[in-house]
């Protein structure tokens, strides 16, 4: 077949084939180099585009993106001072400035490492290398557009957390779109993992690897092994991926987790340090490195990581208050209480919310204590103790544990014991966390007493759970539903109680039919669990069962349901 290039390869012909008109779209060009902006404007004009704006910096781009909806954003990765292209993208996605049909193209001067690092949480729709010519731009735009069509329903199901339906949609698309089969398989595996089907996800990864070695698939397999508790095998696989491709940062992050689970905190911290060297501009990674180093009392490393985290966070939507609290602790340990307090003041200026105020107060107390100002530490501790007595609400688990640590340190006893028992009841089967709780007791020279307290708190939670299971098993569903409400009130953040609550509500509706209020109750419970512990296997399974109960013409098939039993002592 011989093609006359003038026809077959003419942009218009390609555009017609893709069935989309790019001329009426609204474009934003972001580049700090005026010559490049002019060039891109010419290129777009040659493609027939009529509406385009330009920005010379990341900040300017954000202002424009906040005011106007753009269909296509052409953004250079390297934007000089201020936000870089990746940070513009992250902020757009988090602030919902891009619609699902918008196209974000990341432009770079050379083959981009970011494109294959597997590190960036927010990926652009495509990367494109300079010099940009009309043909290449049009091909990439059409390709993104086609991919968006193929993934549209899948993405929609993903957003609705209907992962199994989304995975089925992947299969349908794989059958007809050979070109996108790898992307679809990758998505399918991710969805199966989210839906709590790791065995099926493993099959997908193995199928992909059977044809060709892909870092993401090998890493995916290793993650599944890690979640199954096979930490050593996972560690070897992650290291294998890194040996193949030193830039595949995701493997480093996972390797650090594997070491952490094996209790090898120093190795874990070393890996994070290497990853942060290769890809230093991730707020999330610097935060993790800082926290790991702080735990190991590696003061210089923790300080560097927290300072870097704050610096890159300045232009990033991902910025985190954890870095400020971490840095304050470091300053305190260096006996520089003055800077610590400045950092805490900064944290309270930059971030708002009650939890931030509370954590700032706790950190302040820890800083006083660690820098030897026991009088002020005691005063802060007393204030916090009063607050706990006045308000029965308890903060999240990590805050409870820090608060208990401080209160023990300043000599309070009852309040921290109560906090740690609360933490234990709400996490009665999380052995890693309970070991940390035990550690706090030991530091307060209450090792034996602590072990007893943990034991009885665990039993309390297990008893509550078991009573619900018994009612459910003996067919007293209405009573089971009522009991689980009581249990939830007592243990508002116990994952297994929450899951069982939802399961029993579902069982009730499966026997007595759909009820709007119970449906809402089950949904609220599940959303709460997904908030405190995102991405659990049971979450997806229960959401799936809940969806089957929605009223419709044909009756839903009865599923074999099971309530998670026992646990604890």
């Amino acid at each position: 077949m011989n093609h006359a290039l003038t026809n077959a390869l003419h942009p218009a012909a390609v555009a017609a084939a893709a069935n989309i008109d790019w001329t009426e779209k609204r474009y934003l060009i972001v580049d700090d180099f005026v010559g490049i902006r002019q060039l891109l404007r010419e290129t777009l004009r040659n493609l027939g585009a009529k509406h385009f704006d330009q920005a010379a910096s990341g900040g300017e781009a954000m202002t424009m993106l906040g005011k106007t909806h753009y269909d296509v954003v052409l953004c250079d990765f390297n934007l000089g001072d201020g936000k870089n292209g990746q940070q513009v993208l992250e902020e757009c996605r988090i602030r919902n400035l891009l619609t699902p049909s918008s196209v974000f193209l990341m432009v770079s001067a050379e083959k981009s490492v970011e494109s294959v690092m597997g590190a960036a949480e927010q990926q652009p729709d495509a990367y494109i290398i300079k010099p940009i010519t009309e043909g290449v731009l049009l091909t990439r735009l059409n390709r993104v557009w086609q991919k968006k069509q193929i993934f549209r329903q899948i993405d929609q199901a993903f957003v609705e957390k209907d992962y199994l339906r989304a995975a089925k949609l992947c299969d349908e698309q794989i059958a007809v779109h050979k070109l996108h089969s790898i992307d679809l398989l990758r998505m399918k595996a991710t969805l199966l993992l989210k839906a709590g089907e790791p065995d099926k996800a493993r099959t997908v990864y193995e199928q992909v690897l059977d044809d060709r070695e892909y870092n993401w698939a090998r890493t995916g397999l290793a993650k599944i092994r890690m979640n199954n508790g096979d930490h050593e095998a996972a560690r070897q696989m992650f290291q294998g991926v890194i040996a193949e491709n030193r830039f595949y940062i995701d493997a480093y992050d996972q390797l650090a987790t594997a070491y952490q689970l094996m209790g090898k905190l120093e190795e874990s911290c070393d890996v994070l340090e290497k990853a942060a060297k290769l890809s230093p501009n991730s707020v999330v990674r610097q935060r993790r490195l800082g926290l790991a180093a702080l735990k190991l009392s590696n003061i210089p490393l923790a300080e560097r990581a927290f300072r870097k985290c704050i610096a890159i966070g300045e232009y990033s939507i991902m910025k985190t208050v954890d870095a400020y609290f971490g840095l304050a602790r470091i300053c305190g340990q260096k006996n520089d209480a003055k800077e610590a307090l400045q950092v805490l003041a900064m944290a309270q200026r930059e971030f708002t919310g009650e939890l931030v105020q509370l954590r700032a107060k706790i950190t302040e107390g820890l800083v006083y204590h660690e820098s030897g100002d026991y009088r002020r530490a005691r005063k802060t501790g007393d204030e916090l103790e009063d607050m706990l007595n006045d308000d029965p609400e308890r903060p999240d688990t990590p805050t409870c544990m820090e608060l208990a640590t401080l209160l023990f340190a300043v000599g309070v006893k009852d309040a921290p014991v109560e906090l740690l028992c609360y933490v234990t009841r709400n996490n009665h089967d999380n052995m890693v966390l309970l070991d940390e709780v035990q550690g706090i007791f030991e530091k307060a020279r209450m090792g034996e007493e602590g072990a007893e307290l943990i034991k009885s708190a665990r039993k309390e939670a297990a008893d509550m759970m078991n009573k619900g299971v018994l009612l459910w098993k003996t067919g007293k569903l209405a009573e089971a539903v009522a009991w689980m409400r009581t249990a939830r009130e007592a243990l508002p953040n116990n994952m297994r109680i929450l899951f069982n609550s939802a399961q029993i509500l579902i069982s009730y509706m499966q026997q007595h039919g759909y009820q709007r209020d119970l449906m809402d109750e089950a949904n609220d419970v599940l959303m709460h669990v997904d908030h405190i512990a995102p991405g659990q296997q049971r979450f997806a399974q229960l959401i799936e069962q809940l969806a089957l109960l929605m009223p419709r013409k044909d009756p839903p098939p009865m599923e074999n349901v099971g309530v998670d039993e026992g646990g604890g002592e």
């Binding site: 060039l39 294959v116 091909t139 060709r212």
Partner: protein, 241 residues
């Protein structure tokens, strides 16, 4: 591997400086070639007969060579072929590959009054690193501009389980020294006399590294130069598993 990881640690500032300078140079060359393409592409019949027109075309040709060389130097500096290089093979539509390569070369070829032919199957899909292969083929076409009479032809076909891409021309063919340089580049024999003295040496070396990175089921990609083909001139041939 450990040693390479620490390569830039001795002089991180120098590395950053070099990286930002390279970024700057890429921008300047992009603007230069874009402006020239704009001028040449917008020329009417009268402009084409202006004595400056062929000189402008030659400027574009040289700018493209400069760009190719800069990309190759950067890529080699970043160690193409080593685990350090961000290699990203994906299934690609051959028609899109040809379309993108043709669009990169369009203005240059038109200004040099060279016709580009393409012979490929519309539905064909193959797995490769698109940006690297586009770079290699664009450069092969820029090279063929020097050797051809008035036609360049891209042929893509499956052959013995490999994807074979040929960039052929209707010139007098490559001199034997060039063909030998291709063999040297593939064998990694950088001591070959003609390899380092030949101005195409860097390009051939780069192309052979890119081809070799493509591996599938124990088979590697390769490149070579030959004379003959449909047009009877020189041919740059890349085979990908």
């Amino acid at each position: 591997m450990e040693d390479q990881a620490d390569d830039h640690e001795g002089a991180p500032e120098l590395f950053l400086f070099l990286a930002s300078t390279a970024h700057d140079m890429k921008n300047s060359i992009s603007v230069l070639s874009g402006t020239l393409e704009g001028l040449l592409g917008g020329a009417d019949d009268k402009d084409v007969n202006h004595p400056a027109y062929p000189q402008l075309a030659q400027m574009l040709y040289q700018t493209k060579r400069l760009n190719d060389n800069l990309i190759q130097l950067l890529a080699l500096y970043k160690q193409v072929g080593k685990p350090e290089y961000p290699f990203d093979p994906r299934p690609q539509q051959i028609s899109e590959l040809v379309q993108q390569v043709a669009s990169q070369a369009k203005v240059l070829l038109a200004s040099k009054k060279i016709t580009l032919q393409a012979d490929f199957s519309q539905e064909m899909v193959w797995t490769f690193d698109e940006d690297l292969i586009i770079g290699m083929l664009t450069q092969a076409i820029n090279n063929a501009v020097r050797y051809t009479h008035d036609t360049i032809r891209i042929v893509v076909a499956e052959k013995e389980g490999f994807l074979e891409i040929r960039v052929e021309d209707n010139g007098a063919g490559f001199p034997q020294a060039m063909i030998d340089a291709g063999v040297c580049a593939m064998s990694g024999n950088t001591a070959g006399v003609n390899f380092l003295t030949n101005s195409s040496g860097l390009g051939l070396y780069f192309a052979s590294e890119v081809a070799k990175m493509h591996k599938y089921r124990q088979r590697n990609g390769s490149i070579h130069l030959e004379n003959g083909g449909v047009l009877g001139g020189g041919a740059f041939v890349v085979r990908l598993p």
